[in-house]
Every structure is written in structure tokens, then in C-alpha cells.
Symmetry: C2
Subunit: 166 residues, 2 copies
Amino acid sequence: MTDASSATDNYVLTHTMLRIKDPARSLEFYQQVLGFRLLSKLDFEEARFSLYFLQPRGHSDSADGTLEHTFSRMGLLELTHNWGSEDDDTQMHSGNSTPKGFGHICLAVPDIAAACARFEEMGVQFQKRLGEGGMKEIAFILDPDGYWIEIVQPSLMDGLLAKFKA
Amino acid sequence: MTDASSATDNYVLTHTMLRIKDPARSLEFYQQVLGFRLLSKLDFEEARFSLYFLQPRGHSDSADGTLEHTFSRMGLLELTHNWGSEDDDTQMHSGNSTPKGFGHICLAVPDIAAACARFEEMGVQFQKRLGEGGMKEIAFILDPDGYWIEIVQPSLMDGLLAKFKA
């Protein structure tokens, strides 16, 4: 058996895929509210679905329009839209109620107070606001399908969580 | 309203959180099979859960042991273990059967044939093998909880998918 330390040297976690009901509202949210850029869109006419690959603005690199680029970047979001779901009764499952599984994606921001104030101003739904609960310096917002997005400011995390380090 | 292009300049997608039943089997899988490194572990004694932050080997950076580091890295995996679930009838929901939502995480590898051969050798479960289905150069493996992990070789993706580009 090949040792993991050589066989897996260049493995990269590229994207997380979430199904969405309505690309218009999801793209507005991820692009206008969170500032993500659309790197690639793929349309599968025969199977009637589209894929949207989105990247936060803090991931600085020079997209060259290739799919090799899109599929080699760390930390992208892939949204899958099955055509027609925006017009039927499709509702996505966030994974945070029974049956549980997936929990959230996490967005690091340089100034969480400013970020959350802007989200409030834009009418974003919160699962947990700053100051609520035990972890007062972490927030959770909801995307248009109800998926949870954790919002953290990395510079606050040692102060908040160091006592839990194993 | 602040413009997204300045307000969101340094936003980064840091991690994707998945709940797990049994940390022993999940850590063995992500560390031994996929080669991920454990960056941070947090234990919440009162609430009886632990968090494991894992990073693939292709994400080269110098971890300094701080949580500021862990919470600012792109493309990490966070595994949440509620204590005791390894001994009860807890089963995680992959999101790929009703009710649907989350789909998969995606791992880019430099040589997908070699990667999949090694996975077979190690007894990894496949959702879709290379050569099966319409997308013959993509595979899906299953983690110990049944979450789907897409395996792609970025250099093959333009040849495979360029005709679907919007």
C-alpha cells in the first residue's frame, strides 16, 4: 500500500456542492451580498441542470476561463440547479434538522461587526446574531435556500475558543 | 448601502462542516486514505461535542497552531462529533436522497487513475467508479458516514466539460 504522505501530496479540496431552488435569488445573494464571483457556469441541456461555480473575493488568483482552473481552486462553492425547481414546490434541506448531516459552510471576514451590520441592512436572515448564545463573536446567516453560513473573524477565534483546544 | 466589491474584498470560504458518527473511523479515513492533516481539535465538555479541522496535503502553508490560522484557511473540512453517537443508532444523512440539499465535497487530485486504484486497494466504497456513467473521467467515493466525495483531475475537465460551458 502506498503511503498516504506521498500518494496524497497534491490533493486539494476544491468545492462544496449545494443544490438550489432558484438560481436568480441564489446568484443575487452570493454575488451582491457576499461578493462572490462566478468563475464558471455549465449547462447540461439533456439532463436539464446547470452548475454555478462561485469564488469569494478574498481568493485572489487570476482566473483564466478554463475548467482546469475552476476545478483546481480551493474553497469554491458549486450551486446545482435542476431546471424548473424554481417553479415547483421544491424545498432544500439544510441538514440541520432531522435527518441531520451537512451543517454549514464558513466565511471568514476581516471585520465581523461591519459584515453583520451590512447583512442586516441588506435584509439577510440570521440563524444566530452576534451577541446571542454562548459564542457571542460568531454569527450564522441563512442563504436563500436556508443553508447555514457561519461568519467568523479569524483574529477573534483564539480569544473565543482557546480554552477548548485539545 | 456599501458596494459588495469593497465590503467583501477579503472574504474567504474557510471550511465545510459535516457531522460524523464516529471520529475514530472518520479520522482514519481522512488521514490515512486522503492524507488530510488535523490542524485543530476542539473539545466542548459541557455541550459534549468535539470539532476536528482537517486540511488536505496540497494546501501548503505553515500552520502555526493558532485558531486564527485554522479559521482563515480556504477549503478546510470541519467534522463535528456529538459524544456518544458512535455507540447509538445515529446515522448521518448524505443530502443525496430525500430530503435533498447538500451534495458533495470535491477533491482535486493530480492523477485520478492512480488515486482511484489506491482507493480500491484500500477498500474505499465508491458511489461511481471511473468509466461508469456519462462522466467517465470523474469518480465519487463515500466517506465512512456515506457523504459523497467527488474526485476530479483538473487537467481533464476542459476536455470532459467544455461543451457544457455557458
